[in-house]
């Protein structure tokens, strides 16, 4: 059978698989993700990958408290760039740099028309941040309490390895500080001073950027991410950085 044909097969579900059988695969470090043709064809994948693919952590298993996260309601963004302005003002971002920006995607839709989608991007405050791993002097680290990836400018030697390592282009070298600068969910400028949300979320007129504590089951970010049937995605999941910025279209 060709691979293309395989893809068209219907997954018959995992119910018919005995737990003994499943455990056997688990011992091999593989998880069963599908059963086809009455069990003659199994779809297997490494356990680690299944866990990595679970973008949103299980309820009650948030590593941080508060576990800050941002949900971006992508289709509502109108590219007014007020978020960027607010960020620049709040965090002293120089003209040659940015902490957040808006990317633009275009595709042709049925009938020959074009659809334009604006995609706000910022540091994902990754749960497995490559930038933190590579820094030789721990000038950047993941805050133990909040999970925010922060910088200590006076420790930064300016090797720029973190900039090469970040999959999201979220870092730049700020000459004024002689250090790399990045979005910290406004920790320095606002949250640490008692404010409840980031400058960009506050400035957004279209309610695109929803900021909050994922560990709080009553928060809006929690609700958005745990509404049945919503599709949630993150950028470049294949790099395994596990972002805390999620995208939805509701």
């Amino acid at each position: 059978m060709r691979i293309n044909d395989l893809e068209k097969l219907e997954n018959e579900g995992l119910e018919r698989l005995t737990s003994l059988e499943r455990r056997r695969f688990l011992q091999l470090g593989l998880a069963v993700t599908g059963v086809y043709l009455g069990g003659t064809i199994l779809s297997l994948t490494p356990v680690a990958e299944v866990q990595a693919a679970e973008l949103v952590p299980e309820v009650g298993q948030y590593p941080y408290s508060p576990h800050y996260a941002m949900v971006i309601r992508e289709k509502f963004c109108i590219d007014c760039e007020r978020c960027m302005e607010a960020c620049v003002k709040t965090n002293d971002v120089p003209v040659y740099g940015f902490r957040t920006t808006i990317l633009e995607r275009r595709r042709t839709v049925a009938g020959g028309a074009h659809e334009t989608i604006f995609m706000p991007v910022l540091c994902n405050q990754c749960n497995r941040p490559p930038c933190v791993r590579v820094c030789p002097t721990t000038a950047t680290w993941k805050d133990k309490k909040t999970g925010i990836v922060v910088m200590k400018p006076s420790r930064c030697i300016g090797c720029k390895t973190c900039m090469t390592a970040c999959p999201y282009n979220a870092r730049y070298f700020k000459e004024e500080n002689r250090a790399v600068d990045k979005c910290d969910f406004c920790w320095e400028s606002r949250l640490s001073k008692g404010e409840k949300t980031t400058a960009c979320a506050e400035a957004c007129p279209a309610d695109v950027r929803v900021f909050g504590d994922l560990a709080d089951t009553k928060s809006r970010v929690f609700e958005l991410l745990h509404t049945p049937e919503t599709i949630i995605w993150v950028l470049r999941p294949e790099v395994g950085a596990l972002p805390n910025v999620y995208y939805v279209n509701v």
């Binding site: 040659y96 740099g97 990317l103 633009e104 995607r105 275009r106 595709r107 334009t116 995609m119 991007v121 490559p130 791993r133 590579v134 820094c135 030789p136 002097t137 721990t138 000038a139 006076s154 420790r155 930064c156 030697i157 300016g158 090797c159 720029k160 390895t161 900039m163 090469t164 390592a165 970040c166 999959p167 999201y168 282009n169 870092r171 730049y172 070298f173 000459e175 002689r178 250090a179 950028l235 470049r236 790099v239 395994g240 950085a241």
Partner: protein, 397 residues
């Protein structure tokens, strides 16, 4: 102090460097170029890379990193080559060992000089590296191990001068081990970045070590030949044997590198792996095709390989031609490796508007001056070494 130096500097024997106006002029020119490079470097630290360098937020590593990689690969390679003779006891290789040890020190020092200007706050390193030590960071390991490596190589060199071969061998082995560890970490600096498909994978550390061995062979032929030629020294038959041996090892390493490169390219295009494919195509048929085919493949692999095989390692002028082509080709290899690895933009393949298919980077004047300064500094150390250490001639032992 004088007594100490007297123990290290050979007072007699060996080969006497011809003292001529040319020698003084060469030292002067190298010194001047070094000063210009250092001045450009200091100015760029003062004014900020944003204004003086061609690097950007998307392509943060430029030609200085490439030059640094070039120097440390050569240094590690020279250390490997020197150890064949006097750590592992292949006597044939002894005549080149002293010069190789000396040049491995000269090249790594030149590498440090260049990287000091790429790192915007290098003065924070000594303290930051200790109080902030990060065991998961390959850069940290590389820096620390190369520091130790330089220390071991210096002691080895001093012991060689004092004819204390037992201690020299011990430190030579220590230098070799730390050098190889440091060097594979340099490969891992690139190889462990999931976000950069062109680099990502176990290939990098393996490739780095092999190409170090190749660079070491090429470099020792290059420097030995120039030293003998410029001073009108006559090569002993042992030395010619050693050159032949090292050329053959070099050719073998080139064969391995050719093999690696073929498969790297094939695996990069078959099935169009996203991110990697675009980078590989830039080398094969895009903006960097001349660098790749002309620099890396012809100068760096095919020409030296063919020459060495054709003369069976025996004709010194031909070996020099091979090593000259090799040195230039290897420089292209480092440059392409560092730069092309960063050219595929982060959000490629998402159908973004006003978003480059491929990023670009051109070294600025400041950057080029620093690189020239580093090269000049290395050449100056080489020239001074030949005179001070009387042609690095090995005594029998």
């Amino acid at each position: 102090m004088n007594k100490l130096l007297a123990g290290v500097l050979p007072q007699e024997g060996g080969l006497e460097a011809s003292v001529s106006g040319k020698y003084t002029a060469a030292i002067g020119l190298c010194g001047l170029l070094t000063l210009v490079g250092v001045a450009a470097g200091i100015h760029s630290l003062y004014a900020g890379h944003e204004h003086t360098f061609g690097v950007s937020r998307e392509v943060p590593w430029g030609v200085l990193i490439a030059a640094y990689v070039f120097f440390v690969v050569t240094s590690t390679g020279l250390c490997i080559v020197s150890s064949i003779g006097h750590v592992f006891g292949f006597k044939n290789f002894n005549p080149i060992a002293k010069r190789a040890v000396f040049m491995s020190i000269a090249t790594i020092v030149a590498g440090f000089l260049v990287i000091a200007f790429e790192i915007e706050n290098s003065w924070r390193m000594p303290v930051g590296n200790v109080i902030g030590a990060n065991a998961t960071s390959n850069i940290w390991w590389m820096g620390t191990l190369y520091g130790a490596y330089l220390f071991f190589m210096l002691i080895e060199f001093v012991m060689l001068q004092k004819n204390d071969h037992k201690t020299a061998t011990a430190f030579g082995l220590a230098g070799l081990l730390t050098g190889v560890a440091a060097h594979s970490n340099l490969g891992a600096v690139f190889g462990l970045l999931n976000a950069r498909e062109f680099w990502h994978g176990p290939y990098m550390p393996i490739y780095f070590i092999t190409s170090a061995a190749m660079s070491g062979c090429v470099a020792i032929i290059f420097f030995t030949y120039i030293a003998y030629r410029a001073n009108n020294w006559k090569m002993s038959s042992e030395m010619e044997k050693a050159m032949e041996g090292v050329a053959k090892v070099g050719a073998l390493m080139m064969a391995v590198i050719i093999f690696f490169t073929c498969w790297k390219m094939i695996s990069g295009i078959s099935g169009h792996p996203p991110g990697k494919y675009e980078a590989i195509m830039t080398l094969l048929s895009g903006k960097y095709a001349l660098n790749f085919w002309g620099g890396e493949v012809m100068l760096g692999m095919v020409i030296p390989f063919v020459i060495i095989l054709a003369v069976r390692g025996k004709s010194m002028p031909m070996l020099f031609a091979a090593s000259l082509a090799g040195m230039i080709g290897i420089y292209f290899m480092r440059y392409d490796l560092v730069i092309v690895g960063q050219l595929v933009p982060h959000y490629h393949g998402m159908g973004l508007v006003d978003y480059p298919e491929l990023l670009s980077y051109t070294p600025s004047l400041h950057e080029n001056l620093v690189v020239v300064g580093g090269v000049a500094f290395c050449v100056m150390l080489f020239l001074m070494g030949e005179k001070l250490f009387r042609g690095h001639v090995a005594e029998d032992h």
